[in-house]
Amino acid sequence: MFRFLFDRDTWQEVLDSLSKNKLRSILTMVGVWWGILLLIGLLGSARGLENSFNRLFGDFATNSVFVWGQRTGKPFKGFQENRRVRLTLTDAKKIEENVEGIEFVLPRSQQSVTITKDFLTGSFQVAGDYPLLDQLQKKKLTHGRFINQNDIDDRKKIAVISDGAYEQLFKKDEDAIGAYIEVNGINFKVVGVFERGNVNMGPSTDVHIPFTTFQQIFNRGDRIGWMMITGKPDYSIKQIEDDAKLLLKNLNDIHPEDKRAFGSFNLGKEFKKMTGFLTGMQFLTWFVGIATLIAGVFAIGNILLITVKERTKEIGVRRALGATPFEIKRQIVVEAVFITLIAGIFGIITGGWILILLDHFFGQGDEAAIVNASVSIAVVFIALVILVILGTLIGLIPAFKATSVKPIEALREE
């Protein structure tokens, strides 16, 4: 049945009739070429965007929620409403011990402070932090190190400052590491400088100092600003948030239905929205790509139909010389499939070039908008298979048209 595909004559015939009218063949191909080009280009870009999102959030524990205390909204157990709720280290510890699926609970405190260095001064957000922070929200350190456990244990007066704070407090090219800055009248030694990325989760911080030091110099006792709760990968962060809040309400004598007492920001939920958007975009890409492809294949069918009309006489001659209708149909279908395939392969190649260009112009550096824009071989293969199927189906229309004319009528055509 398919032996003719390996017959040199079949291809000779196809090439002859295609090269006979080069312009027509090329115009026919443009539609499919464009469709595949779009499909590959769009899919690759979508993948690139996804990669860049993943890279941005890759250093970030996305399965996490921030919780902080506000004021109560309901009176409970003799307490009036509008009571200030303050989270404590004990709360954090209890949550870590009792809520299921928790990976880390990270307490944090933050305050706006005036910092002086020599004659330069400015207002900065200073946060008390544990080394764990560096693990959950990767800090990009340009110089030095982040806070370590020693600093926590010994309540060392050291600081890790942002590039922004460095620019305000230091002269150009001055070495920050080992220098002292005055926080609230107390000297802190700078041990690290970090770069602030584009994406910041939670309040932005200019200066990190050890948590224990912070609590001491600002007289916080065991009261904390807020806590960051991270769930294990296969636990729902929404459930963890609800469980943690309920536990906190219990511990702090707050009405279980009180919605106002705690504020929270669920990173996991927000992140899901973003990935949902990406999935939607990928779907759209497939839709647009396939639709364009179908339009392109229809264009091929259309032009082949015209061609068949043009070639009515030739087909008549062939039939007079002994071509069976099946042979004529086969010929036209093979032409259609061949033209679609060639155009498709060209589209894939040029689509690849587009992706290379995208990568070259938008894919370089750490802050690239598109990272490693690419399409998997499986997708390319699927696209080709779809092309062959569509090409065959669309080729059948002109093929049947060609043999529906009686040879005598075909020959009479002038």
């Binding site: 002859d16 006979k20 062939r318 010389l321 002994g322 069976t324 209708p325 020959l411």
Partner: protein, 233 residues
């Protein structure tokens, strides 16, 4: 060779129909050279098309080389055409993007012959019509007479029993016409059965038998003394 009895054919024209062939009886023996004459509308082309299995009669009998031609499938008709019949057309009908050699080889391709064998055979026939040097040329590079000779080579390639020619000299000047006729006569001398439609008296006289059609019936069927075309060449 060819036996036709009470052949009728009509074409629908709008609501009515045009009765083109009104009962044709015709016998052609092997080795004959028959001219079918008649004014336009006499049904001569229709008759040739039915003999060529390009068209089908409404009623009547048509037996070609002992085989009844009736209710053939398209596929079978194609095989019969390929095997028994060679066509020569007024407008040559060469495929314009194929070389002379490829045109001649086409019926052999549809026979399923191997490429090499096909090319050799096509070359042999092309040589026979004296165009071996033009094998690689496209039809547009050939003169009218050369085109018709390529067409004749193509008609001969499959070694058909019957050669059908529809106004073979209609598009050619007198000198070239005589050239072509001389060649066709030579083929007939070699034993090929030839049937041609023409409306030129002198061309018809170069055949051995003239059948005159008028309004769908045979008016006259006479054997003639063949005028040899060579004397004009």
């Amino acid at each position: 060779m060819l036996k036709i009895q009470q052949l009728h054919k009509s074409y629908p024209i709008g609501d009515s129909s045009l009765h083109v062939l009104k009962g044709i009886d015709l016998n052609v023996e092997e080795g004959e050279m028959v001219a079918i004459m008649g004014s336009s509308g006499s049904g001569k082309s229709t008759l040739l098309n039915i003999i060529g299995i390009l068209d089908e009669a409404d009623s009547g009998e048509y037996i070609l080389d002992g085989l009844p031609i009736k209710n053939l499938t398209e596929k079978k008709a194609a095989v019969y055409r390929n095997k028994f019949l060679g066509f020569i057309f007024q407008s040559f009908n060469l495929i314009n993007y194929k070389t002379a050699l490829e045109n001649v080889a086409l019926p052999l391709y549809y026979q399923g012959m191997k490429r090499k064998e096909r090319q050799e055979k096509a070359m042999f026939h092309l040589d026979k019509v004296g165009l071996a040097n033009w094998a690689k040329h496209l039809p547009k590079e050939l003169s009218g007479g050369q085109k018709q000779r390529v067409a004749i080579a193509r008609a001969l390639a499959a070694n058909p029993k019957l050669l059908l020619a529809d106004e073979p000299t209609g598009a050619l000047d007198t000198k070239t016409s005589h050239d072509i006729m001389a060649f066709i006569q030579k083929l007939n001398d070699e034993g090929k059965t030839i049937l041609m439609v023409t409306h030129e008296e002198d061309i018809a006289n170069m055949c051995k038998r003239i059948v005159r059609l008028r309004d769908g019936v045979i008016m006259e069927d006479t054997k003639v003394n063949q005028v040899r075309a060579e004397q004009y060449v």
